[in-house]
């Protein structure tokens, strides 16, 4: 805002121009597309019209459902809810948790668990609690029950923890009651419901279906897809290479970025210029990163790296054809791609550290290294956690552009029969299977759900951590 005074027109006028341009741009884009939006409107109207039918279906299902299976699922959910609530109540301030009445909290947890279990067990038709189910599917069913229970338990915990004062604090300073907030939330809610919730529900339903010979269409198959995934050698290799690549991408990109950020935070002349020169790779896409590294690592004398290695050490490794080296090319490209973003946030974090603390420690005789590990690094932990999550997410999804350009076939083959690829990471396999029209949709959906649960777990853990930090800082 301090720059505004230098503008030739007043900030108010500039703002009006910008606002008008933005709204005009949106109008020019959307007005000719009203027909397309009408299709969305029809879809929504049909969905809303179908809601009563859905409720009737649910009621009919529970009326006719095998009572024992429903009871088992509720029991498993309730036990899970009670135990986890007791654990959570112990971890957080027990006096504040449900005002100290732990038994009440545990009871609420059991109820939420039993009810929450139905969120996932209803679409699965309680099939994993059927008497003739095999052990593997039953175990998957237990996990699914617990996940469903968690969906209700997490909000219940938030309620039970109660934040004294949170309510009182914000009573003042609101607009008076009106239907306006609902109007403001309509676009966000519609887009999230149609383009995220609906496909997410779809993918879970599809993951329960598969082709059962001889019928051509897919039919309900309980957890069979998940059980098959777990025993599929190609999928297991893909899983392992994802973890392997993710581990090294995250480790190197964070460590190198932190070192660079510490260097760039020194008070020297032209620090701003150096910063810009260090963070710009954030704007380079994974695809472009992939093609650059493809050219650098290509074989034959014309590749940059093999020319350098060949003329100095006399070795010319087959970077993209050796199954042990190809993942490292992916790691190198991804680390370079992530570096700018990580340096950016670490520099922001380092600026945030109070210098008086460091000076006090310095007066106490703490050396540079000691000050870094005892003060700087712990104070950077929120940034490290944020970057950890974004980098893991990148290694799980964003990496697709890098992998697809560097190793379009999923990397050098290995494994018995050579059906696994060394860089055939989960997201790459997921997309390749989706493009392959012959591949079973149910198996693909199950892969997506597993990946989804992995990242969701990670994201929730990060939230818990950040929340606790906020609590400690008071």
């Amino acid at each position: 805002m301090d720059d505004d005074s230098r503008l030739p027109i007043s900030p108010q006028a500039a703002q009006r121009v910008l606002l008008g341009a933005a709204l005009g741009f949106l109008l020019v884009f959307f007005v000719p597309r009203l027909d397309g939006l009408a299709a969305l409107w029809d879809l929504l109207r049909d969905a809303i019209a179908g809601l009563p039918g859905f409720v009737v279906d649910v009621i009919d299902y529970y009326r006719a459902a095998p009572g024992e299976q429903v009871a088992y699922s509720a029991l498993v959910g309730a036990i899970f809810g009670a135990v986890t609530t007791a654990l959570v109540a112990g971890v957080f301030d027990p006096a504040r948790f449900a005002q100290g009445r732990t038994w009440l909290a545990v009871l609420a947890g059991a109820g939420a668990g039993a009810l929450g279990a139905q969120i996932l067990m209803y679409p699965a038709q309680h099939c994993t609690y059927a008497p003739d189910i095999d052990g593997a599917q039953f175990r998957v069913g237990l996990v699914v029950t617990a996940l469903g229970a968690l969906a209700l338990l997490v909000p219940v915990w938030t309620l039970l923890r109660g934040r004294p004062g949170a309510r009182v604090q914000h009573v003042a300073g609101h607009f008076k009651r009106s239907p306006l907030p609902y109007v403001f939330l309509v676009p966000t809610v519609i887009i999230l419901a149609v383009f995220l919730y609906y496909p997410a529900a779809q993918i879970m339903l599809v993951s329960l279906r598969r082709k059962i010979f001889p019928l051509p269409q897919e039919r309900f198959a309980c957890m069979q897809n998940y059980v098959d995934l777990a025993s599929d050698a190609v999928y297991r290799n893909s899983f392992a290479s994802t973890l392997y690549i993710t581990l090294f991408v995250v480790l190197f990109s964070l460590a190198i970025a932190l070192a660079i950020a510490v260097l760039a935070s020194q008070k020297v002349k032209w620090a701003g210029v150096y910063r810009t020169l260090l963070v710009w790779p954030y704007a380079i896409s994974p695809v472009v990163t992939g093609v650059i590294f493809l050219s650098m690592f290509r074989e034959g004398g014309a590749g940059l790296l093999n020319w350098a290695l060949g003329s100095t050490l006399g070795i010319t490794p087959g970077w993209l054809t050796d199954k042990d080296l190809a993942p490292w090319v992916i790691v190198a490209a991804s680390v370079w791609n992530l570096l700018g973003f990580n340096v950016l946030f670490y520099i922001a974090g380092l600026q945030n550290i109070p210098t008086d603390l460091l000076e006090a420690a310095s007066l106490d005789g703490a050396g540079r290294v000691r000050r870094f590990w005892r003060i700087t690094f712990p104070l950077l932990s929120p940034f490290t956690f944020f970057l950890l999550v974004t980098n893991v997410t990148y290694s799980f999804y964003g990496i697709y552009g890098v992998v697809d350009t560097l190793t379009p076939q999923g990397g050098p083959r290995f494994g018995p029969g050579g059906e696994s690829g060394a860089t055939n990471v989960l997201i790459f396999k997921l997309y390749k299977d989706a493009f392959d029209t012959g591949a079973p949709a149910g198996l693909g959906a199950a892969q997506a759900v597993v990946l989804f649960v992995m990242v969701a777990t990670f994201t929730v853990l990060q939230f818990r951590f950040l929340e606790r930090r906020v609590t400690y800082e008071g």
Partner: protein
């Protein structure tokens, strides 16, 4: 404390900057080479050759890079502007109103943090097929699913919460309604957050790659990253000069956008940290 110039640090910083720029400098050099030059041994690392312009011309004439860049720019800007508008409205509702179901609606938004679009491309493309957007209006298919996100709502909710409530009381005394308050009080105080949000959204839209492939659009409706990937598919030998030129051309717009808004980006997140 330390007044003398610190040559050691300057030297280290210059080395690091150069090291980081190395792949990009290499790409710039290769983008000037002809098909034959890109395969000479040893690699031609200096001086730049003469083919950059002709490589770029090939991309724009033969592979409609002009169309692709225009498509991507439109899609990215629509998402940036639309998402900012929707997220600000949602932030306004969550921070300045009390209404039944607020907590549930907030949880509804929060939960979408766990639903990455990247994993939903198959059902999403089926949905788009039902709406007939991929065939009739690819730009709608490329923008609509990205017009709302938990991240944007959080960013603005957090920012609005840190704005002193006294401003609202003053505005209410002047008789300002919610929309006027948003436009004339909150907006002028939010440019840094808007800038930070815009950078993230613009760059993530510019990097869209898997989603446009899933939509199976015709070549001239595609986005730029797909264009880069496909720029050398026709031909037996990879034309690295052409490929690097494609990479360079595709990287210029996001680089410009990022460097211009870099300051806003940094301070936008600095504001978020305050509380």
């Amino acid at each position: 404390m330390n007044r003398r110039p610190r040559y050691g640090i300057h030297l280290a910083l210059i080395v690091v900057c150069l090291g980081m720029a190395c792949p990009a400098l290499y790409a710039l050099q290769v983008s000037t080479l002809t098909l034959e030059e890109a395969f000479t041994i040893p690699p031609k690392l200096f001086p730049p050759s003469t083919d950059f312009v002709s490589n770029v011309r090939t991309l724009f004439d033969g592979q409609h890079f002009g169309r692709l860049i225009a498509n991507t720019l439109t899609v990215a800007l629509v998402v940036v502007v639309g998402k900012t508008a929707f997220a600000m409205l949602a932030g306004l509702a969550f921070v300045y109103f009390q209404f039944p179901g607020k907590w549930m609606l907030f949880f509804f938004v929060l939960l979408t943090l766990l639903m990455p679009t990247e994993l939903l491309l198959v059902p999403l493309s089926n949905l788009i097929a039902d709406l007939q957007w991929a065939s009739d209006d690819p730009q709608l298919a490329l923008t609509m699913p990205f017009l709302a996100s938990a991240l944007g709502v959080f960013l603005f909710r957090q920012h609005f919460r840190n704005i002193p409530r006294e401003l609202l009381e003053a505005a209410q005394i002047d008789g300002a309604g919610p929309l006027r308050y948003l436009l004339w009080v909150l907006l002028p105080m939010s440019w840094n957050v808007i800038g930070a949000h815009a950078v993230i959204q613009f760059i993530s839209m510019w990097h869209q790659y898997a989603w446009p492939i899933f939509l199976q659009l015709s070549p001239e409706d595609q986005l730029i990253q797909v264009g880069v990937r496909n720029s050398v598919i026709s031909g037996t030998q990879t034309d690295f000069g052409l490929l690097m030129a494609a990479g360079v051309v595709a990287s210029i717009p996001p680089l410009v956008f990022f460097v211009l808004l870099q300051k806003q980006f940094m301070s936008g997140f600095a504001l978020m940290r305050d509380k």
